[in-house]
Symmetry: C2
Subunit: 266 residues, 2 copies
DNA sequence: CGACACCTTGAAGAGGTTCAAGAAATGTGG
DNA sequence: CCACATTTCTTGAACCTCTTCAAGGTGTCG
């Protein structure tokens, strides 16, 4: 069975995470990233590494990069060199065509990995845009490949991350191919809040970092339809909406909307 | 720029391939598969391997499996163990939900790799069904991982295959999220014929291996809409359709339908 | 040759889009 | 810090595309 509301993360829940990692200024390397100290580690790193392995990975993920809101982390056509682990902030990825089509392919948050689209042709095929001020760990891909030849757990982890993205996209195809507007928005909200909850945020409250238009693009709807559907949910007492602030009043109602696809038996 | 009609394959064209590999009965291993002898090699194997590396890969891909039309190669929930390289035949992959939704996530032909969805959770999350009698090479994934730790080209190849699938799915999201029925079907036909051409088949003629309903599921349309859209194309002299036999009379017209999304400038 | 699956076509209807206008929030510059 | 410009969001009404329901046609296979 397939649950489109499920997280892209197959990993442990972290209800105590704050999203802020401490960097201990112990030595000259202190300013560098250390996965070993990062409280997002469980989200983006494999489990069960020994100290030596962890340190070697630390060296790969040595550089961070800040990305201001509205700025692209990478662009379509750009040479591919690295994957990025999101430390803080929120991204969207989208593809654009010559004839002006535009499709948001995903929204990514702390602990998630972006840039996988660039591997196949050595060039990125989409844009990654920060929807709020963000910080990412830069992970040069040739170094990842090198290290994953030596650290089995890392190799497996890379494979899982890519497979997870494939499965996530299957879920989006299901959503786009078979759901009506209300079902899409309900699934979208449940998915977002589920991922946020896994990061220690509320199960019922969330701040949308994207516009109605961006939600619409992701869900294959026009922004007016997104807005109307929000209004409908408010009318029905399922959510409270104040601009981008959403409070889910009735999670099970949302789940019912997504799952209640039962056809009358003939 | 993103071209949804483009092939999932980034590899060389093989206009002379017939789809039948010769197996030379030289020794006791003759009955086994040998990638080294397979004329689909360029489609599913990395390039530039030496004899030794090729032989080691041959050993991994030692088993073939025949799949009759209508039979599942693997099913949702089934334990994941292997990837499969399609030797002959045609598959669909689809996900199903508890509430009876069903979504075709792709159609796969000779030289393409399926099963990637199973990596992340050690269980398959979709069904792979043969749409005609087929034969696949079984590639145990733990052996692939093992070998790709030693053969850099194989490692890179595995990464590219997964990345290619991610990029392909981005294209489907664009199609489902932003295209109208005619545009979807035109993009679908162009994509199919392009992939078939890369395998040595005609650029203009194709035999659909799937029903209108399966096409519809993939394209997010009802079967009636698919049928009507075919009829429209026939009326316009763009294609000839006799049941599942399609001849494309005007490729550029199809391309125009997909790309002519130009909005009038305000 | 008859049963079954698949495909086509028509007519009515629903869901989402488009166009338009106004309200609310956000950002900017004086 | 406030006024103004801009972006974003909401809502209404008309329209259009695709779906739904229905019936009949075509092809295939035991």
């Amino acid at each position: 069975m397939f649950d489109v509301t499920q997280s892209a993360l197959g990993m442990g829940q972290r209800p105590d995470a704050t999203g802020d990692a401490k960097i201990l200024p112990m030595n000259s390397h202190a300013i560098k990233v250390a996965c070993s100290n990062c409280n997002l580690r469980e989200l983006c790193m494999p489990m069960g590494l020994n100290a030596d392995e962890l340190q070697r990975i630390d060296e790969v993920v040595a550089i961070r990069r800040k990305v201001k809101r509205g700025v692209r982390l990478y662009s379509n056509g750009e040479k591919f060199a690295s994957l990025y682990a999101i430390r803080t902030g929120f991204f969207k990825t989208c593809i654009t065509t010559e004839d002006g089509r535009d499709q948001v392919t995903g929204f990514q948050m702390a602990g998630e990995i972006i840039g996988l689209d660039g591997i196949v042709n050595d060039h990125h095929t989409c844009n990654a845009v920060a929807l709020e001020d963000a910080e990412v760990c830069v992970m040069p891909f040739d170094r990842i490949e090198e290290l994953s030849r030596e650290i089995t757990a890392l190799q497996r982890h890379v494979h899982k991350i890519m497979s997870r993205e494939i499965v996530r996209e299957h879920g989006v195809m299901l959503l786009l191919g078979s759901m009506r507007a209300e079902e899409r928005l309900a699934a979208f909200l449940l998915n977002l809040v589920q991922r946020l909850h896994a990061r220690g945020f509320s199960q019922s409250e969330l701040l949308l970092r994207m516009t109605r238009e961006e939600i619409g693009s992701y869900l294959g709807l026009k922004l007016e339809t997104v807005s109307r559907t929000f209004s409908k949910f408010v009318e029905d007492g399922i959510v409270e909406v104040k601009q981008r602030h959403v409070r889910i009043m009735d999670t099970s109602a949302l789940k019912l909307i997504v799952n209640n696809n039962q056809q009358p038996c003939p």
